[in-house]
């Protein structure tokens, strides 16, 4: 293990303040060792000898350093039932509120973007089948989208390893997956057919508009990587993709309030989500 460079309390606060302003991620004193460890790793990797030099490098986002640094604090791999509290909120509150606002027979539309290799949209489908009593009487359309077409190909195939399934019970795996090899499972055909996958660039309004309007959007752990101008534009594209009264769920370290004033904050028992206002001309 490399020796930790001397990062003082003041230096830790500098980094914490910078990261909060830049990403909305909040690191308190309890995370100091973790932050310090990551700084040490990056300084060693980059062969930078002083904190001051590294902090300038980070602030300047040289060679995408901010993303490299943030990656240490986010779970880069995705897996089924990640951030389950939001799924609980979906079935306990969000969908019921949306059903009340819709005409009879009108489908509920849910968008998972970016969807990576499909864990999130399939999780939403399984969660609703298991936990939302209305699932038998409501039409629910689930769309997963990503900018990476290789990810989309994998998502359509619906094949996953053990790590992706680590949060699922054996009963759920037995019900919604078929074994295709050692430590390898595939989503059952019916479920694969119930989720649609499409390519989208969140920065391109012409592309997001092609997807129509959604009742609920899951957009987790992507906006933190955007610069300010890109984040604003993505937020407006997402706003436009929601029906009035529709909800957007971000990652647990993200806050739409810091990105855009367009949305209203809604606090539910299991999660804080953001809503496109229903009133006035916000239609």
């Amino acid at each position: 293990m490399s020796e930790l460079p001397a990062v003082t309390e003041e230096e830790f606060r500098k980094v914490s303040d910078f990261l909060y302003r830049r990403t909305g991620m909040l690191f308190t004193e309890t995370k100091r060792y973790y932050v310090q460890r990551r700084i040490a790793d990056r300084m060693t990797f980059l062969k930078i000898g002083s904190f001051a030099t590294y902090f300038s490098y980070l602030r300047g986002d040289v060679d995408g350093e901010i993303e490299q640094f943030i990656n240490a604090f986010t779970v880069n791999e995705t897996y089924f039932y990640r951030e389950e509290h939001q799924l609980r909120c979906l079935s306990a509150d969000l969908l019921n509120e949306r059903v009340q606002a819709k005409k009879p027979g009108e489908a509920l539309r849910i968008w998972s973007v970016p969807c990576a290799t499909g864990e999130e949209p399939y999780s939403i489908a399984i969660w609703l089948l298991e936990n939302w009593p209305e699932v038998d009487v409501q039409d629910i359309e689930i769309v997963g989208s990503d900018i990476d077409t290789e990810c989309l190909t994998a998502a359509r195939q619906g094949e996953f390893g053990q790590r992706a399934l680590m949060r699922l019970s054996p009963a759920l795996i037995g019900k919604y997956f078929e074994t295709i090899g050692p430590d390898r499972w595939r989503i059952v055909s019916d479920l694969r057919q119930s989720v649609q996958f499409t390519a989208v660039n969140l920065m391109e309004g012409s592309q997001t508009r092609q997807h129509g309007k959604f009742d609920i959007i899951f957009c987790r752990n992507v906006l933190i990587y955007f610069d300010d101008a890109s984040r604003r534009l993505a937020a407006e594209n997402l706003f436009e993709s929601l029906v009035p009264g529709g909800f957007i769920c971000l990652g647990h370290t993200e806050s739409m309030s810091r990105i855009s004033p367009l949305f209203e904050v809604r606090r539910f028992a299991d999660a804080i989500v953001y809503q496109r206002p229903t009133g006035g001309t916000h239609g």
Binding site: E10, E11, G60, L129, V135, S194, Q196, A229, R232, E240
Partner: protein, 197 residues
């Protein structure tokens, strides 16, 4: 399985926007978003900015200008820093911070502006400058600044980006505002963060 799969809904038809300043807020929003994607959009957005009162549409105008990130788009936003409308001022700051390259040529003049409010708000722009330039500009401000709130804003930024060479300016500021406990405390914290040479 009750979940359904169907082709995505076609995009809602949006009439070609005739004007950024007429029609409903939804129409103006659509016009602004469309203008943002046009090569000549900045001039249209700049013209619409000072006439638009709907916050949502105004936000889209600022985003369009920030996305363009040109000298022209920054110049269009800067007058909003003088607005009596706090929401407009805040939105302008956010937009200018979202286009740091375009804002950079204006920062020195803004920090020397006759209006203390403009100087105060502009301290934030220094965060996005190269550190040597930011230290020089904020150091210069601190040695001449007469408004304590402006000085406090500069000190707050220096707490993050300050270098040892700005310590004399902080000390000079502390002497000038020796009777202000809050500012002295802020200067002390900034100096501690700047720390070792």
């Amino acid at each position: 399985m009750p979940l359904v799969r169907r082709p995505s809904s076609p995009a809602e038809a949006t009439a070609a926007p005739a004007s950024l300043t007429e029609g409903t807020s939804d129409q103006r929003w659509a016009a602004v978003r469309a203008a943002s994607e046009r090569p000549d959009g900045v001039a249209l957005l700049a013209a619409a900015l000072m006439r638009e009162n709907e916050p949502r549409v105004r936000e889209a105008i600022f985003t369009g200008l920030a996305r363009a990130a040109t000298a022209e788009s920054a110049a269009a936003v800067i007058p909003c820093l003088r607005s009596e409308d706090a929401g407009l001022r805040t939105a302008a700051i956010d937009a200018l911070r979202a286009m740091p390259g375009a804002t950079r040529p204006h920062v020195a003049a803004l920090l020397g502006d006759a209006d203390a409010d403009v100087r105060l708000l502009s301290c934030e722009f220094a965060r996005d400058l190269p550190e040597d330039e930011a230290n020089r500009l904020l150091g210069d401000l601190l040695v001449r600044e007469t408004e304590k709130n402006v000085a406090a804003a500069a000190v707050e930024v220096l707490a993050e980006i300050g270098r040892p060479e700005v310590l004399p300016a902080l000390e000079a500021c502390a002497e000038r505002f020796a009777g202000d406990g809050f500012l002295l405390f802020s200067i002390k914290v900034a100096a501690e963060r700047i720390g070792r040479p």
